[in-house]
Amino acid sequence: MTDKLIPDLEMNFQLYDVLHADKLCEHSKFEEHNKDTFSATLATAEKIATDLFLPHNHIADKNEPTFDGHKVTMIPEVQVAYNAFCEAGFIAGRYSFEDGGMQLPEVIMTAASAYFMAANPSTTSYPFLTSAAANVICHFASPALKQQFMPRMLTGEFTGTMALTEPHAGSSLADITTSAVKQADGSYRVKGSKIYISGGDHELSRNIVHLVLAKIPGGQPGVKGISLFVVPKYRLDENGDAGDRNDVQLAGLLHKLGYRGTTSTALTFGENDDCHGYLVGEEHHGLRYMFMMMNEARIGVGFGAAMIGYRGYQYSLEFARDRTQGRHADHSEPSKPAPIVLHGDVKRMLLAQKSYAEGGMALCMYGSHLIDRVNTCDDTEEKHALKEMLDLLTPVFKAWPSEFGPKANDLGIQVLGGSGYTREYYSEQFWRDNRLNPIHEGTNGIQALDLSFRKLWQKESLGLKILKREVEHDLSQVVTPKTGAMAKELVHYLTALHEIIVHVSGTIKSEKQVTLLANAQALMNVFAQIVVSWIWIRQASVAEQKLIAGNATEKEANFYKGKIQAAQYFISWELPTIDRDLKILKQDNDVCSDMDPDWF
């Protein structure tokens, strides 16, 4: 009796029992909404995702887009799905009523995205990129520029891209060489090459609006000399519609491990010195603008990774219920093979997947709800504090699910045995698709550095202080025995975390700093596993209370028991793995940092 993508029990538990998202409607920003409008929004998302996104996920993987030198071609199902997504108003969902949006909370938009990401991440990329690009334009472009591009992006007539990466500059955006030269009319002429640009070309929309990072000659070197431009594929005509072709060329499509339905493009700007670009905001502030929209984007990547993990978990669970192999461990029915879901080792693999996928889902929904809390906080000081915690947690929102989502998918393959290794089953595609997530939107390596060298310390560690406050508050609310035992375990590690942060703050200021460059992943691991343990305890606490209240139906009771069991799995199997990392950090272990390239 499974719903196709995400059971309502799960979604409602996360949104209302754990996060109390309906309370957001008490704030004037969301007063037009109530639980009914949220539910109806999610119902439409689920329906479109199930009817139009899910059925072609595998077909699109097998039939990548092609480029004949003139035009990109892809399977027609993508267009149908894209149109339905746009017509339902999802691109505009988070925007204000004045901007033609629905002013929905971030957490509801994230919840809606769950269905699309679980169903078909490749096709979902096109509208998501458009929404993200429009978000930057909305916040930082001049009213005139905004008026020209944003309305058509919010309806999906125009799509958007983020064009940051260059062949020689991925993690180091400071080194980009694309240039933009100001013209008499105030516009710029853009010249350079970009690579890996998702959705950089296709025929899904009438125009493609590239947000391009480029340098204006004469500016400062490094990140302070980077500006942001709107560069459309077609310049606008007098009606504001797609007019003459701009000088942006598709040099070619890249062929990827996964996410094959999304075009990954190498783009050439200004090959004929006639690429028109329009400055967003002020000169030299481009990277800052991009990064100010990064929290949402990074939560989006983490959440997507969790949802692909979730889909793989559900898929392998269904398989495990059907597949029989071996005998019942209790020797009942010795003549009949048992469904593998009964085998201890298979249960272990399923529990691990559940704890990673639902852990990542709860983590990122906490994150998007935190954005709503920041946005609706009327106390300046508290708003600032919450914002600091959001900044601190953002590398975790991005990196943890994108590491553990693919791990879940790996276990999903394992549960299927030989079937999991064949392309007749979907498990291998889930893994391939998800394998992107540790790489883009700032590699997980870069996230670990961001956490270890910046986020933990900025604003005198205010973010950390607020996080501590939140965790302690939640732990003080734990009143049930099983969750209580888990909380005790976590308290032990919170002390360890405190000690290691004190230690690392010394390392950073000493000559041993280089060891931390190599051991940042260990610190990320310690921090993130503790954060996710807390996230699991929040879920277990609610579930156990509901169970004890005693009015749950059988199906609900099973759901709550599953939550408690997964939390226990996480606390007993995953959390203690950080002992190794704590040791490495405490030692300022120099094995990796001392390694000489010549020794490899």
């Binding site: 029990l9 109530n34 409008t37 109806a40 439409t44 017509e87 999802f90 629905m102």
Partner: protein, 252 residues
């Protein structure tokens, strides 16, 4: 022109239902519910008629406990103008005949020019409410519609019948029941979900209608269909023909 569209809250078509252990019915606990797909087609047709300027008002009506207001809201978010909820107590079983009699009262009060219903609901699969309503109200009926054209006080309904298509012309007011191919229903868009919030739902207790609600139908037993057994692969056409002749005995 006013169109009345009755909608039924039914199990979502994606749900694989399970028969209760005591064979008294299917287990609906925590099961996803939705508008019956044929009713959705009925709403869509009514809204299209409104968009074409043929209809001026679309009213959705549903019978059931409080929960079915969710389906009325969905109808409003799809574009209907207002809703009527005939409220029953939770757990009350309402058979087709009671539904038809309640709808008869609604028709008398609302005087719609057209009532568009789903041909059947995917839970009970009875395929009779529309026909009963037509009989009770004396309105002409066009069932299994795959095309509906309204013109000059009448409606042409193209029906899917065994031999192909049949078109009947009905004087308005009339009853139409929808088949699967009549249209493809739209999705409730976010802006329309917001608009639906402000549209009225008139809630009326079932007792107000003076309809005898005692069921005339007794469910004796509900059983899951027999498990399908695997098929066989045949080597060639000749073997297929031989099997159809001798084993299945479907061709002579």
């Amino acid at each position: 022109m006013k169109i009345l569209v009755p909608v039924k809250r039914a199990v979502d078509y994606n749900v694989k239902v399970r028969v209760k252990p005591d064979n008294s019915g299917v287990d609906l606990n925590n099961v996803k519910m939705a508008i019956n797909p044929f009713c959705e087609i009925a709403i869509e047709e009514a809204i299209r008629l409104k968009e074409k300027g043929v209809a001026t008002e679309v009213v959705v009506v549903s019978i059931g406990d409080k929960a079915c207001q969710e389906q009325i809201r969905t109808g409003l978010a799809l574009g209907a103008d207002r809703g009527i909820h005939i409220e029953t107590n939770t757990g009350v079983v309402v058979d087709s005949l009671q539904v038809a009699k309640l709808l008869q009262k609604v028709v008398e009060a609302e005087k719609p020019d057209l009532v568009i219903l789903g041909k059947q609901a995917i839970d009970s699969d009875n395929n009779q409410t529309g026909q009963m309503l037509a009989a009770l109200t004396g309105m002409p009926q066009g069932t299994f519609a795959s095309e509906v054209v309204v013109a000059d006080g009448s409606v042409n309904v193209t029906r899917e019948i065994d031999g192909g298509l049949q078109t009947v012309k009905l004087q308005l007011p009339a009853v139409v029941t929808t088949d699967l191919r009549l249209n493809e229903p739209r999705y409730a868009s976010l802006p329309n979900i917001m608009k639906a919030k402000r549209k009225p739902i008139d809630v009326k207790p079932v007792a107000d209608f003076g309809v005898d609600m005692t069921s005339k139908v007794t469910v004796i037993k509900v059983e899951a269909p027999a498990q399908r057994v695997g098929g066989v692969k045949v080597a060639d056409v000749a073997e297929l023909v031989q099997k159809l002749k001798n084993e299945a005995k479907v061709i002579a």
